[in-house]
């Protein structure tokens, strides 16, 4: 067996570990799950959520890399896409929050009172953009 394989395997493994650390540092620092967990007062189950994040990512990664076919049917696929969408939506929302967009906007424009509507508008805009993109790429 070509010894170069060992080098390749080592590089790939180190890369995977580095990416995982960065990726999960991002997800946990951005604070989606602390917020969701405290909202429903299930703080004590943080470990289960972390496990689900870990195994979900590991599984998704293997499925993607090796193009493993799992017949989920249309219904299962829709469920997966729904929760994936919720997650990405939370991520996008949390990103605007971490970057302090809303505090700054509300101070500049003095619109504190109407801020909730601005957030609805933001969500509607993201949804509209997503729908437009999906339609244009599919049709």
């Amino acid at each position: 067996m070509n010894p170069a394989y060992i080098l390749l395997a080592f590089a790939a493994m180190a890369g995977g570990a580095a990416i995982a650390a960065g990726y999960f540092a991002f997800i946990s620092m951005i604070g989606i799950f602390p917020k969701l967990l405290s909202k429903i007062q299930y703080n004590r189950h943080y470990m289960l959520v972390e496990n689900l994040l870990a195994y979900g990512a590991a599984l998704g990664n293997v499925i993607y890399i090796f193009t493993i076919r799992i017949p989920l049917t249309l219904f299962g696929f829709a469920i997966l896409a729904l929760f994936g969408g919720i997650f990405v939506g939370c991520l996008a929302g949390a990103l605007t929050e971490v970057l302090n967009v809303f505090p700054i906007i509300s101070r500049r424009f003095k619109i504190r009172k109407y801020l909730p509507y601005a957030i609805y508008a933001l969500a509607a805009g993201k949804t509209a953009g997503s729908i437009v993109m999906v339609i244009t790429t599919l049709v």
Binding site: M13, Q41, E50, A81
Partner: protein, 204 residues
């Protein structure tokens, strides 16, 4: 000489009884056991049957009560100036709605993580990168891609486990996990916001 009373209020407490005693919200120590015993039993607030479920108690209110009760006592605060008390009636029956919400959250965590790692992989064209690396490091046939893919997956899993500091249920070290740290941080931020909000608002 005046008796010393050390008091260490917490930043926030959760109570199940409507009557909140001083010892619920603070640790108390005094050289004079009579004072410590009496101070423990002081009722600082009583939640109404219906109404709001949180209340802020300033250390000044406590000091006022204590100085009116004991003529000659010096109070030394070692803790927080304001304490938030969250009231939650203790009910033992399991709330189905909460559990459903939690299951939804678990779904978001699991499928969301799977979904977004796939987005990441396709965003950086990971398979293409592995092909390139196979070409650079090994050359020739394509067997390297699946080996590299396998080890990339193992590495990714190891990275996650090391980052979160636990396997299925057992922590590797005593340190808190990242999510635990974030939870506490978020809790402190919420408490701070409630206290600041209360300070800005005129007397209700």
């Amino acid at each position: 000489m005046a008796d010393l009373l050390y008091i260490k209020p917490k930043q926030s407490v959760k109570v199940n009884e409507r009557k909140v005693l001083l010892k619920d919200m603070a640790e108390i120590y005094s050289d004079n056991p009579d004072i410590a015993f009496a101070a423990d039993k002081i009722e600082v607030y009583k939640f109404k049957e219906k109404g709001k479920k949180q209340h802020i108690i300033s250390i000044l209110d406590v000091v006022t009560t204590l100085t009116s009760m004991f003529a000659d006592v010096d109070i030394i605060n070692l803790g927080e100036p304001d304490t938030i008390i969250y009231y939650e009636a203790s009910d033992s029956n399991v709330n189905v709605k909460e559990i459903l919400k939690f299951i939804g959250l678990c779904f978001i965590a699991f499928f969301g993580a799977a979904f977004s790692i796939m987005s990441y992989n396709s965003d950086v064209n990971l398979v293409g990168q592995l092909e390139l690396m196979q070409d650079l490091f090994v050359g020739g046939d394509e067997a390297g891609i699946s080996i590299a893919g396998m080890f990339y997956s193992i590495g990714l899993f190891l990275g996650i486990i090391i980052f979160f500091n636990h396997g299925a249920a057992k922590k590797f070290t005593d340190e808190p996990t990242p999510l635990q740290v974030q939870l506490r941080k978020y809790e402190q931020d919420v408490n701070q916001t409630i206290i600041t909000d209360m300070d800005r608002r005129p007397e209700k």
